[in-house]
Each structure stands twice: as C-alpha cells, then as structure tokens.
Subunit: 329 residues, 2 copies
C-alpha cells in the first residue's frame, strides 16, 4: 500500500509512484484518491494551452522560474493527447526543463493518451490532486495543441493562459476552436517576431463584442518575449491577480463547485459502467438473445433498452439490501 502520509510529507518517490498507479488505473486507486482528497485545495492550477509552436514550453519554463523565485513548490503536468508516451518520458521540447530536474521543489510529469481521450482529462484531474496534496503551491498543466481534449483538460485549471503567436492567424483559429471562452489571459508570445498590435486589437474587439465580461474579469492581452525578457513579470503578476480576483469575487468557489459536481457524476458514471460490464460484459445472461440478434429477429437498440431495465432492476434489489445494512462500497 502506498502511504499517503509520505506523500503529504513531500516524498517525491511516493508522489511518482502514486501517479503511475493512477495512470495505470491500478488497484486501490479510488481509495487512495479518497484518502488524498482532504489534503488538496491549496494549489493554484495554471493551464497553458495554444497552438503548437507558440512557445508554450518556454513560457512554462518562465512560470516555473517565477514561482521558484518566490520559493514556491511547483508541479508541471505536460499533456500530449496525440502521444501514447506517458510516465517518466520527457517530450522532446522540454529538454530545457531538465535544468529543473535536480530541484527538489519542481516535479515534472509527462502524460500521453492510452486509447481514451476522456480518460486523459480525468487522469490529469487526479494527478493535479496528487501534486496538490504533495505540497505544490503552483501546478502548471501544459498541453501541446488546442483540440477538444485540450479544452477538456483545461477545465481543471484555475487560470488558463491561451498562448498565440503574432502574424500567424492564430487568433482566427482560436475563435473557431471555441477557446476564447476558456482563456483567462491571452499571451501573445514571440512578440519579438511580429506585429502584435493588429492581434491585440482583434482580440480586444472580440472581447468587446462579448457581453459576458462586464463587471467581472476581462481577459487581458499580454505580449511577451522570452528571448528579450519582456512582458514576463507582467504576465506573472496577472496570473496571480487572476487568482486573487476569482477568490474575492466568489468565481473560484463557483467553478470549484461546478468541477466537483461534474467529477462526482463522472465517477458515478464509471462505477455504473463497471457494474454493467461485470454483470453483462461476457455475454453471460444473454443466451439465446444473441442468436435472435444474429438472425435479425431482434435488434440491438431495443435490446439495449431492455438491458438497461434489467440492470436497474437487478441492482436495485441487491444494492437496496446493501444500503439497508450499510455495507456499501
């Protein structure tokens, strides 16, 4: 059994082992997360997303340095939905991050997909909790691209940076991908490479047209250049100001509540799915029905609805008894 107490004390190896167990959907995962949960809630989760080549890794590197300069413990989750690589493997462009590898207060983890994109977002959510309980005050989630799965992953961030490059038409792509809605801060990175004014104007105009920013946080647009070291202090200040704003305005509590509600339903969904497959997954209990289906004398759609009824009936009885005696779980 992996010891949660060691995780809380900040033992790096325990953190790594627990994350591996979560990624592999190992035995005792739920119990472990259940034990970890009370120790979470202390971290500021920062999401970094944007089109490939926008310099997200360099910016993540900057954010690590900024947090470390304030002596805060940092966790980084680099998520690549297009890659099957997980675990200790470092992505190619994060070699620069290796300079942090010897820093006991920086924990970097790469995650790739294993067949299920939805599973990746959920695994990210769980890894955030582990790093939170491990004592990370800042947790950065960085994704490689801006697809649907990246949007799902960003739901687990408190503050989301959308990174764009000037003169690339990036912002047009961005609107299409529905990413405007998740941005808390727009970063126009590589500002040294192009004309940022047009892009800033375009984004500001889009924000003007959206009524949802009146009276609350309106995403600022910050030009940055990692090469010339411009805009970086401002960006870091904005990241912290956003956290402060969401805490004071109650938006933080609201989004935490919303996330938790979704999480509970997702977990219930997983449990129902597991029960269903355990009870009916191996074609047990289906006997002659399969022959009728094969002969086209029945159809899978109507039979699925019948199966739902059977499942509900069957588990109501058994579960009801369990519930009465208090022997749940």
């Amino acid at each position: 059994m992996l010891e949660v107490s060691k995780l809380i004390q900040g033992e790096k190896r325990t953190a790594a082992k627990i994350i591996t167990l979560i990624e592999n959907n190992g035995v005792g995962k739920q119990e472990l997360l259940s034990e970890i949960y009370p120790h979470t809630g202390g971290a500021h989760v920062i999401g970094v997303t944007g089109s490939p080549g926008a310099g997200k890794s360099s910016l993540t590197d900057v954010l690590i340095k900024m947090a470390r300069a304030e002596n805060r413990k940092v966790g980084v989750i680099a998520v690549d939905p297009t890659s099957p690589i997980s675990g200790g493997a470092l992505l190619g462009d994060r070699i620069r991050m290796q300079e942090h590898a010897l820093d006991q207060n920086v924990f970097i983890r790469s995650m790739g997909t294993r067949g299920s994109l939805g599973g990746l977002a959920r695994a990210t959510r769980d890894v955030v909790k582990v790093l939170d309980a491990y004592g990370c005050e800042v947790i950065i989630i960085e994704t490689v691209g801006v697809g649907q799965s990246e949007l799902d992953i960003m739901h687990h961030a408190d503050t989301t940076l959308v990174v764009l490059t000037p003169g690339t038409g990036d912002h047009i792509q961005t609107i299409k991908a529905g990413i405007m809605e998740i941005a808390n801060i727009f970063v126009i990175n590589k500002a040294d490479l192009g004309n940022t004014k047009k892009m800033i104007t375009d984004i500001e105009q889009m924000l003007d047209m959206s009524p949802r920013y009146t009276g609350c946080w309106r995403p600022p647009v910050v030009p940055t250049s990692v090469v010339n070291d411009t805009g970086l202090d401002e960006l870091w200040a904005l990241v912290k100001r956003h956290l402060e704003h969401t805490r004071q305005s109650g938006e933080m509590l609201e989004s935490v509540r919303k996330r938790l509600g979704t999480e509970v339903v997702e977990l219930a969904e997983e449990e129902l799915r597991r029960m269903l497959w355990e009870q009916f997954g191996n074609n047990g209990n289906m006997g002659t029905l399969l022959d009728k289906l094969a002969r086209r004398e029945a159809d899978p759609y109507k039979e699925a609805s019948r199966l739902v009824l059977r499942f509900l009936h069957q588990n109501q009885n058994e579960r009801g008894i369990e519930n009465d005696t208090g022997q749940t779980g």
Copy 2:
C-alpha cells in the same frame, strides 16, 4: 425523416445523409439504426490496417477493383483517428480513389475523430450497418495507423488484413502493438522493395509458437506488389477463402454473436450515461453537497458511490412503472 426504404433501394444521397446524421449523433439516430438493422448482415467487411506508409490505400484500391470486376457493390470507410476531418473530405493519399468516384457502385467515406476515440469505433460500426443495408456486398474499413483505436475499429471487420513493409522492422512493432491477434491475413506489401523472405520466416515462426491456430484458420502471409501486380489475385482469393472458412467453421457466427453482445452492452452503457447526466448533470439535486465537497468535508469518491445508489433507486421506481404499463423506450 430520412427514409430507410430509399436506402434499401440503393439511393446514394440517402446513404450519405444517414451517415452524416450518425456522425453528428443527430436526433432519431437510434430509431433509424433500429429500422436499418433487419436489412443488414449481407456484407463481407474487410479491415485493412498496418503502419503508415505500408501502402494500405493502394491495396484498398486493388480490393475495390477486384470486387468491381465481379460486379459487386463496394463501400469504403477510411478512418483516421488522428484527424478531426470527417464527412465528404478525402484524405490526401486517397486522391487515386477518385477514379472510383463516378462509379455508382462504389461508396467512399472518410471519418475522423471528434474528441472521442471510443466514439469513432462505434460510429464506424454504425456506418458499416448503413452501407450493408445500402446493398454493399463488400465493405472495406481502412485505418491510417495501428494504434489502440485502430484495433478497436478492426473488431468490426470479418476479415482483417495487416499490411507490413519488408525490411522495416514493421513486424516487431506489430507484435508489440498486439496486432498479431487480429490479423487474419498478413500482407507484405511493396514486396518489390525488399527482401520478403526474412519477414515471412519471422511471422511464420511467431505463428508456430502460438497454439491457437491448430485446427482452424492460420493467417497466411502473402507478399504483394501493387506496382508489379504480383500477389494481388492470390490476396483476393485468400480474402474470399477466409470468409468461406469462417462461415463453414461457425467462427463467423461466433464472432457475430460476440460483437452483438458487446454492442448491446455498449448501447445500454450509453443509455445509462445519458440518463445519469440528464438527472444529475447540472448539479441539480446536489445542493449543499457541493459546498461540503469544496470544504473537503466530503470526498467525491464516496459521494459518487452514494450517487450510484440514488440513481438506481430513483430509476427503479420510475422505470418499473413504465415497464408495467409497457411504455418503455
């Protein structure tokens, strides 16, 4: 309402429209598929998978020509799990297939992922049914690569070709990916480019070591060259022989039964999921629980188990009444 009768009569536009509706998870999808189902079961579904660059598209092209030479109606589903492109869009390397575009008896469709890999395999399964009812006697499912999602997609094929290129170490990769198990025929394509003997020997040795081929179909290994037109007739004959074998040996019925069993449970899973989210998805019914979760006085894992009980209880009652009065669905 899209008319299934027109689909059965072989109206191409109706087929295309129904497929689009399925891809978009449109209203009435289940009812439509339920109506289509009795008209399925006539097609031979051929899966073509293998590493990128192995010449799968050229081979698919050959298979189309072979089937057309026998005056059989052909459907092609080109699946790219890495691409968000769906619908009418043709993949880059299938421009050659455009020569079939004017042939009324060839129906080609590209499918890409939309956030969910599992969803792609299920959509492929449904599109196969539509093409089957539409009158295609041969349906070819071609995938771009050999990842987990491709393996899932290949479960819907009756005969699966695994395409390799000689001298590339492809077969080693193949074993790793667990693809050996799904191959019914190994095709060493581009045989003109390299030494096929070593590869054939390696594959045969692997097959020798596996006890599961005794007394039933042992996957043959066929070298082919589209450029030199060698091995292609043999391949086509093997494809047809495999179908004959599975039909006579009863393997076909067994795998059809197995697939249908899985399908019914998957559909039931979808229905349960939909019910769960409709009833609890918008944080309705969760009231103060979310506050307790936010304060870490409760944990999402235990609450999810409680939610499962509530869900089962709630729906047992309602569903039970529906069931009694016969008003299901």
